[in-house]
């Protein structure tokens, strides 16, 4: 059974990569154009990594994994990623 969670569940690994709190970052879906906070996406945790999907179209937005000391970040489903640079 897949373990469906919220984007917040990916906050840890994303904050290993980015120096920002990423659950408030806004993602625009390549497929349907919906824009939402990363924390509002659907997250699926696998042993192989984390997949974030668009809650509207179910498109895979981001795949992220850390394997043998290397991060793999596949963002093919993200048209735009907006990160607030200030408080």
């Amino acid at each position: 059974m897949e373990n469906k969670l919220d984007g917040n569940a990916a906050a840890g690994i994303l904050q290993e990569i980015f120096p920002y709190e990423m659950t408030m970052a806004q993602i625009t879906c390549t497929d349907c154009g919906a824009t939402m906070a990363m924390g509002a996406t659907a997250a699926y945790m696998h042993g192989m990594g984390t997949v974030l999907r668009c809650p509207v179209s179910d498109t895979v937005l981001i795949r992220v994994a850390q394997i043998k000391g290397r991060y793999f970040l596949d963002m093919r489903g993200v048209r735009v990623l907006q990160i607030s640079a200030e408080a």
Partner: protein, 254 residues
Amino acid sequence: MERRTLLGRLTWQLGEVVATGPETPRTKSITLALPNWMGHRAGQHVDVRLTAEDGYQAERSYSIASPPEEAPRVTLTVERLDDGEVSPYLTEELRVGDKLELRGPIGGYFVWEASMSMGGPLLLVAGGSGIVPLMAMIRHRTAIGSTVPTRLLYSSRSFEDIIYREELTRLDEADQMLEVVHTSTRSHPPGWTGYARRIDTDILREVAWPLDQHPLTFIYGPTPFVETAAAGLVALGHVPAHTKTERFGPTGER
């Protein structure tokens, strides 16, 4: 507290266990002293990492139960999962004086601050140990003297499984603006005044704030619980953008 977006990358730090105590037969609270704690906001979580003698590591996320005002002490409440890799150690083996490796705080989406309510009331919906980050919000709300009207709808298996039961009763009685509504899904003692079934649209209709008050809602619990509660609120006309959810799956150990 100053709210900063640029946090720097997450690093692991060691905390010392300064107190432990049972909350229910299956859950325990663990208070850590964290000299390098940067402070947190109510609703955030930490990652805990255990390392075995052979180097094997297991990592799990746990919600913070304590309000920001208690920093640099941080309390986690952990539910023991019998087949878990991490929670049996935390609930059975860990002692005062032990060191625990963790990193955080993590997350900014599932967070409540008084300034976010914008005058609207707050609805907190908890399933089982999903109460933990919502309790941090309630404790923070009390600590800062907030008068935001707040309702907690809290679903537990039984009376004995209600985490923070006495504290919630105390706060409910002391605070006119806080209302705690329980539902008990499997068993309940004589004289029980709460609901006695799983959360459904009828319960949500009775407990949720009227739409014209623009409530802000946080839902936390197991995935099916969250989906039921979120779908019920949306069916009642609540705005998804003002309804924040977080799910813990069967292996999430959150």
